[in-house]
């Protein structure tokens, strides 16, 4: 991966080269896995899962027509895109049972399928979930994505201290909105053309670029956000503003020039720290829920809804 190519990708991959570049980025990640798995791996997966029940099936079916519903490839149950989407998601849930199916992955595959064939899209999902995005982003408790939202908050404090103080003063918890940005790689919030630009660099450099783009969103609207006087207007603004970001070039400039330096090592350290904090919090929450289940089991007369909170 040369610095020249990196710069080129950051300045935007032309539409006609997108499939080629994306495929190269993905190959780079999954070459080894793919070689070990052998040639017919994806086809075998599809054979294996045929008619088999899996916990993922139900949720995948619920989501198929709720994935980019305005895109003609996915607007009917028998549309070509919908069939491919189902296959890739089912195959992946079988390939990686720890993740299975998590809402959000449907968006990633739907975008990949716009440029890649079905099998390549499957491998793109492998590349994204297992290489480009930290472990445990989409698994059981989403613990790693929770940690990343706190990393983002730290970075905001460093890069945009005025805005960060403003958010603190208004009690704005950014993660409430930024989860969606990270879990869908901005597919839900940016206009398609802008999100494709995010995708170019995301596939080339990994999910670290999501911090850059998230901060670029804040930087590009810093003055307006500073004018918001309560948390409601901030959240309202943050809902509507990203879809108006049609100027991908200036957003990219904020992301890749204004925000430098942006050392990966720092992000790694912050990640490790927050991951541990979040895991401890989740363990505490689990304990509380467990205690509750036990205390309920001790009270044989209690039915649903009775005897709540009397201990």
């Amino acid at each position: 991966m040369s610095p020249e190519l990196k710069a080129l990708v950051r300045s935007g991959v032309p539409h006609e080269h997108r499939a080629t570049i994306w495929k190269q980025c993905i190959d780079q990640c999954v070459q080894e896995t793919r070689r070990i798995a052998g040639d017919g791996y994806y086809q075998q997966l599809l054979e294996t899962i045929k008619g088999k029940p899996s916990p993922a099936v139900k949720q995948i079916e619920l989501d198929l027509l709720r994935t980019l519903p305005n895109n003609k490839h996915y607007d009917k149950l028998d549309a070509d895109g919908t069939t491919k989407l189902r296959n890739v998601l089912l195959a992946y849930s079988w390939h990686n049972p720890d993740v299975g199916y998590c809402q959000g992955l449907n968006r990633l595959v739907a975008i990949a399928l716009l440029y890649l064939n079905e099998e390549e899209s499957f491998w793109s999902l492998v590349a994204m979930v297992e290489h480009l995005i930290p472990k445990d982003y989409y698994s059981k408790t989403l613990v790693a994505s929770q940690a990343d939202q706190r990393v983002l908050r730290d970075l905001l404090t460093e890069k945009l201290p005025r805005l960060s103080a403003h958010f603190d003063a208004l009690n704005v918890d950014l993660s409430l909105v930024s989860f969606n940005w990270f879990l869908t790689v901005f597919v839900d919030s940016f206009p398609v053309k802008t999100s494709l630009r995010v995708w170019d660099t995301f596939l080339y450099e990994g999910n670290k670029v999501l911090f850059r783009f998230a901060l670029a969103v804040f930087k590009s609207s810093e003055e307006q956000l500073l004018k918001c006087e309560d948390h409601m207007s901030i959240f309202n603004f943050l809902r509507q503003m990203p879809e108006k970001l049609t100027d991908a070039n200036s957003l990219s400039q904020f992301a890749f020039q204004f925000l430098n330096p942006f050392p990966m090592q720092k992000i790694r350290t912050k990640r490790a720290y927050h991951l541990e904090v979040v895991m401890n919090e989740l363990a505490e929450l689990d304990k509380l829920r467990e205690n509750y289940v036990i205390s309920k089991a001790d009270a044989p007369e209690s039915r649903d809804g009775d005897m709540l909170g009397e201990d």
Binding site: L65, R66, L176, L183, R239, L288, G309
Partner: protein
């Protein structure tokens, strides 16, 4: 009751108090949480509503007599693994709508679990409404109205069957919540709301900072 309130802010009407409340929607995936919000906020219904990843934020204002009630609505993701994010969204909420799908018994069971969790872990005075959605699909009904009704009575919940598709009871359920919320100058001194047992405060679930009282 419909005569007293409306989901639209009357143009230029002189308003008295303005109250702001945080409301969260919880319930299993595909029961129609986002559809209810879309109906309430924009008056629309989409046959294929995008599934919610993380959560979505919307606001809507209703007028009750001389009071303007601003709802700050958090529509959450329904898939089980998003459960661990839910406390972030219901923390500090004054109201919750727990939604199930009347054509699916499992979703009713899940709704009861949400109610329990809210009663234990959300703000002690939270107003909880139960919505049996997709009431237009009565030929496929699996959850009896009476069952949900008596469960709600036992637990001090507001209850309505709704349809985001036909708009049945959608504004009404939000209005009923608005009416039940304390609108005195200090929310915590407001009238007791239902039979809400005190929850075990897990973390700072009871932050006073956001809304909840009139200005």
């Amino acid at each position: 009751m419909a005569a007293r309130g409306t989901a639209q802010r009357p143009n230029g009407a002189v308003q008295g108090k303005i109250c702001q409340f945080k409301l969260v929607l919880l319930g299993e995936s595909a029961v129609g949480k986002s559809s209810l919000v879309l109906r309430f906020v924009k008056g629309q219904f989409h046959e294929y509503q995008e599934s919610t990843i993380g959560a979505a934020f919307l606001t809507q204002t209703v007028c009750l007599d001389d009071t303007t009630v601003k709802f700050e609505i958090w529509d959450t993701a329904g898939q089980e693994r998003y459960h661990s994010l839910a406390p972030m969204y219901y923390r500090g909420a004054q109201a919750a709508i727990v939604v199930y799908d009347i054509t699916n018994q499992d979703t009713f069971g899940r709704a009861k679990t949400w109610v329990k969790e809210l009663q234990r872990q959300a703000s002690p005075n939270i107003v909880i409404a139960l919505a049996g959605n997709k009431a237009d699909l009565s030929s496929k009904r699996m959850v009896e109205y009476e069952d949900a009704q008596s469960y709600s009575e036992d637990n001090g919940l507001l209850f309505m069957e709704t349809s985001a598709k036909t708009a049945m009871n959608v504004n009404d359920i939000f209005l009923a919540i608005a009416k039940k919320l304390p609108k005195s100058d200090n929310a915590s001194a407001g009238p007791a709301v239902g039979r809400q047992p005190r929850g075990v405060d897990l973390r700072e679930t009871n932050e006073p900072h956001q809304g909840g009282c009139c200005k």
